[in-house]
């Protein structure tokens, strides 16, 4: 099997350009927004913290990674899936033993020269392992195969949630669930699942940490803690709402400039956008993300094999999940979970992960045709 795609004219023409360009557009919107979000108004004018410069750097690195991944023949990933999966599980087991604790959570492995967050790799490993497992058989899932598939996700989920990092854990679970639904579940199985899952959800309350329970309660009623956790929710909605139709204008957002808006360059970045660009800007961003997802969808349709399409479907759900949870949190229809908005929120790791995933989709799009020898 070919390990690398040879860069040639065919590859250039077959690539899903729409996806690539949409990603660049979202990044640009995010970058411009970050420029505004990183500014703070003081007595003597506006000062910028250099987040936007570093975001540009991460974007460059991400683009490099994306091209590197494009060059890899995605079929090779199917073979690497199992060893990679078990390697990541090994790392996740190491975390509670050797991991360092930051802000009360043990998520990092200190390698001396840099720190590693195995839960980020877990997303990849679950994506690959899930796609590999589902690619073996096109038949819709019965009880046995569904449980085997869920098991692939539940082991890393349990390890990640223990760190604790509920956000990443749920992401992993959502990926597996999404891929299973995409693949298809036998109706009799699905029927029972649809009954059982809502019933088991309340039970999960009791395994949540106190602060996680608190967040959910605060989400349900922000006024119960208006100066603490509820403050984020309230101020974020004020920021967005006060943008009204056309927004307050670029760098004119008082909620963000005067620092009423928390985490405005990371988790709440889209609130800055809503405040400054109004309803038009906010819905614009939603539309771009929808188109972005549609671009991934088009590659899923065109993929030449089940592994490729299932893998892309997993990536589709990954992005869908992040947009849903982040924007949902910012507009107050989801609890506060620290999940960033792809390409809009500031953050190096997330940027690299997102670029690699797009690279994989682009690789699938390039290799969508089967050639005769």
């Amino acid at each position: 099997m070919k390990v690398f795609n040879t860069p040639n004219k065919r590859m250039f023409l077959d690539m899903n350009w729409a996806l690539f360009i949409t990603a660049i557009v979202i990044f640009s919107v995010g970058f411009v927004n970050l420029y505004s979000a990183s500014s703070i108004r003081l007595e003597d004018g506006i000062t910028h913290t250099p987040f936007y410069e570093r975001q540009l750097m991460w974007g460059g690195i991400g683009l490099g990674l994306m091209f590197a991944v494009i060059l890899i023949n995605y079929k090779i990933l199917e073979r690497l899936a199992s060893p990679f999966y078990f390697f990541v599980l090994f790392l996740l087991i190491l975390v509670p033993v050797f991991g360092k604790t930051v802000y009360g959570a043990q998520r990092w492995l200190d390698l001396g020269f840099f720190s590693l967050q195995p839960s980020e790799f877990a997303k990849f490993s679950v994506l690959l392992m899930g796609a590999k497992y589902l690619a073996k058989d096109g038949e819709t899932l019965g009880w046995v195969r569904l449980f085997k598939l869920l098991f692939i996700g539940l082991v890393p989920f349990a390890l990640i949630v223990k760190q604790p990092d509920l956000g990443t854990g749920l992401t992993v679970l959502f990926l597996i669930g999404g891929m299973a639904l995409f693949h298809g579940i036998k109706w009799k199985v699905l029927r029972i699942c649809l009954v059982i899952i809502p019933l088991t959800l309340p039970l999960s309350w009791f395994v949540l940490h106190d602060y996680q329970q608190e967040r959910i309660l605060t989400f349900l009623d922000p006024s119960r803690d208006p100066r603490g956790a509820g403050y984020h929710i309230i101020q974020s909605q004020i920021a967005i709402g006060s943008g009204e139709l056309l927004g307050k204008g670029f760098q004119e957002g008082t909620q963000s400039q005067l620092r009423f808006l928390p985490e405005k360059h990371t988790d709440f970045a889209v609130a800055v956008l809503g405040e400054e660009w109004g309803f038009v800007g906010s819905v614009g961003v939603v539309v771009i993300f929808c188109f972005f997802l549609f671009c991934i969808y088009s590659t899923i349709c065109e993929a030449r094999d089940r592994f490729g399409s299932t893998l892309c479907a997993g990536i589709f759900f990954y992005f869908f999940w992040q947009v849903m949870v982040n924007t949902g949190m910012v507009v107050g229809i989801m609890p506060v979970v620290g999940i960033p908005l792809p390409f809009i929120s500031y953050g190096g790791t997330a940027m690299m992960v997102n670029c690699i995933l797009i690279g994989i989709v682009l690789s699938v799009s390039i290799n969508r045709f089967v050639f005769k020898a």
């Binding site: 007595e43 709402g241 109004g278």
Partner: protein, 599 residues
């Protein structure tokens, strides 16, 4: 593309693709709807909340008006002190902040907590709550250097009231105090820590002194730091007020009176303006602003001569012989010929009661002029019975007695003009002729305030106008009424006063001053019944001070068109002539310095 071969034997699951389409549509619909709801449907509301978030209305305090004497000497002024305050909204940990303040200022933590808890509900969350006032200056710099560690703790300037003349005008100025909770609730223009007048002119002139607060809109960031400030309405300082009081005169009179308890009023009989309003003993009104120590408060509270009392307007005394000035007016208006004489043998018999003249041997035949000059009692005993109590009481009331003069100071006493009804109600007995006899020489139930005497004597000089005593410089004279005494008779009584002060055997001769037209009437109010030591009346200095007589002298002095009414009242001071006389004489010398010492 010829080399591409469409051999797609793989088709993605159809239901899966539908699921993805649904997901995209779901994303769009949910967020479109939510953004619509937040930004269009409730946009205005959130825009307002965002505006309120960043805009705060701050008070601009107005300086309280200052008070000066007629020559511009400050009597009440403001100075700046510094206080440590907490802004509740910006303080993440109030307990820690209070503990830190307690450490800085070396005050007890519990005390500060109590103060904070007591006051926190009366200020808006972004207004400072004063925790420690009057910060010693040497503490400010070290505290200031650490404030950056303590968001929410501020050093705020606070205007304080100060009375540089202290005791000398304490009763006139009164004092201020921080507004009480009740006042804060009643008056929305007041905020916690504001000072309001409590006594004296500070209280009476509150509206003019207070000024008007301003407001400023501030754009603030989340830490409450102000980025932009715009004055919405400017603050207007209170009015600066000049008094008719001459502080030099006031001080000199104080000096002349030495340690005696009593009061002196120097009043312009034509305008009612008061040049001096002295009452002794006095107190330091600054202590009411800064707070008394236990010892200081006891010193004021337990003082045997009640320093808090403003004797010029609050103390009531029998008018004694000064009252004869009113009786003279009453007689003249009844048509009594001033040349009519009465024989004074030293005693007046009414039924089986004997009423003595102050002169044991009598004055012989006296007319009105001489009755005033010698202060003959028998003349009035006899004449009063002719007039009758009803007429006298009515006449006294028309001359301003028995009611307040209207001076702009709180708690003025109205005095007592007894009549039949009064006695029946208060004492439960019927009016006797003996009461009328007693009343005729200003003894018995009759009670007046020194200021009433000053107003009445002024009316004799100005032709019958009862003027409101004025404390404000250049105030428009206010005529509260007219006495029933005709201008001619006023002049006649004033002339008799001149004779009393200037002719031989006049009882007020002590105030005769070279080059000054003076007149006066003395009075000696008995506090207890005349005590005899064998055949001889006990002398004042032989008695306990509380049993000694009150000394009165109502006088006027005029020179070069300038004239004053001077009422001197020395509580338990002794004889009108012997005690009040020298004081009044010295005051006249102050008002009209002898030519050779004039600069």
């Amino acid at each position: 593309m010829s080399h591409k071969i469409e051999t797609k034997n793989y088709e993605p699951p159809r239901m899966g693709l539908l699921l993805l389409q649904f997901a995209i549509a779901f994303l769009f619909v949910v967020f479109f709807a939510r953004y619509w709801y937040l930004q269009i449907h409730r946009g205005e509301e959130f825009a307002r909340l965002s505006f309120e978030n960043r805009t705060k209305i701050a008070r601009i305090d107005a300086a309280r008006g200052e008070i000066f004497d007629k020559n511009g000497v400050p009597l009440a002024e403001n100075y700046i002190t510094f206080a440590i305050a907490i802004v509740r909204e910006d303080t993440p940990d109030v307990d820690a902040a209070l503990a830190q303040i307690s450490e800085w200022t070396n005050t007890s933590y519990e005390e500060l907590v109590e103060k904070y808890n007591k006051n926190k509900y009366y200020v808006r969350s972004f207004d400072p709550i004063i925790i420690v006032a009057d910060l010693p200056l040497e503490l400010i710099a070290p505290i200031q250097s650490q404030l950056y560690l303590w968001p929410g703790i501020h050093i705020v300037p606070k205007a304080r009231r100060h009375y540089p003349q202290k005791n000398t005008v304490a009763h006139i100025m009164g004092y201020v105090a921080e507004a009480t909770k009740e006042e804060l609730q009643e008056d929305e223009n007041l905020s916690l820590g504001d000072i309001v007048g409590r006594q004296g002119l500070e209280l009476m002139l509150e509206d003019r002194l207070r000024g008007k607060k301003g407001a400023a809109a501030m754009e603030v960031d989340v830490f409450g730091r102000s980025l932009h400030r715009e004055v919405i309405s400017p603050a207007y300082s209170g009015e600066n007020i000049y008094l008719s009081i001459d502080i030099e005169l006031q001080k000199n009179i104080e000096h002349i009176m030495q340690n005696q308890a009593g009061s002196v009023i120097v009043m312009n009989p034509d305008t009612g303006a008061l040049d001096a309003l002295v009452t002794l003993p006095s107190y330091d009104n600054n202590l009411f602003v800064t707070g008394f120590s236990r010892k200081e408060w006891d010193a004021v509270r337990l003082h045997p001569r009640y320093p808090l009392q403003n004797r010029t307007i609050q103390s009531m005394f029998p008018p004694a012989s000064v009252w004869k000035l009113l009786m003279a007016g009453a007689l003249l208006e009844k048509g009594v010929d001033p040349r009519d004489t009465v024989f004074c043998s030293g005693v007046f018999k009414l039924g089986n009661r004997q009423f003595r003249c102050w002169s044991k041997y009598g004055h012989g035949n006296v007319d009105m002029k001489h009755s005033l000059m010698y202060s003959c009692d028998v003349y009035y005993y006899e004449k009063a019975l002719d007039l009758g109590i009803d007429y006298i009481a009515d006449f006294a009331k028309k001359c301003g007695f028995g009611r307040r003069t209207g001076i702009e100071l709180p708690h003025e006493a109205s005095g007592v003009v007894p009549d039949r009804e009064w006695k029946l109600k208060k004492i439960g007995e019927r009016w006797q002729n003996g009461d009328t006899v007693n009343l005729s020489i200003g003894q018995g139930f009759m009670l007046v305030t020194p200021i009433q005497q000053a107003v009445y004597i002024s009316s004799l000089l100005n032709g019958g106008k009862l003027l409101k005593p004025q404390l404000i410089k250049d105030a428009e004279p206010e005529i509260m009424g007219y006495t029933p005494i005709s201008p001619e008779h006023c002049k006649l009584i004033a002339d008799y006063m001149f004779a009393t002060a200037n002719e031989s055997r006049g009882t007020a001769r002590i105030i005769k001053t070279e080059g000054v037209h003076t007149g006066g009437k003395t009075g000696t109010a008995q506090v207890v019944k005349i005590k005899m030591q064998g055949d001889r009346r006990k002398k004042n200095h032989e008695m306990d001070f509380k049993e000694r007589d009150h000394a009165w002298l109502g006088a006027y002095a005029e020179k070069d068109g300038r004239r004053y009414v001077i009422v001197t009242m020395l509580e338990h001071g002794g004889g009108g002539s012997s005690a009040a006389g020298p004081v009044t004489r010295d005051i006249i010398k102050l008002l009209f310095p002898p030519e050779n010492t004039k600069k």
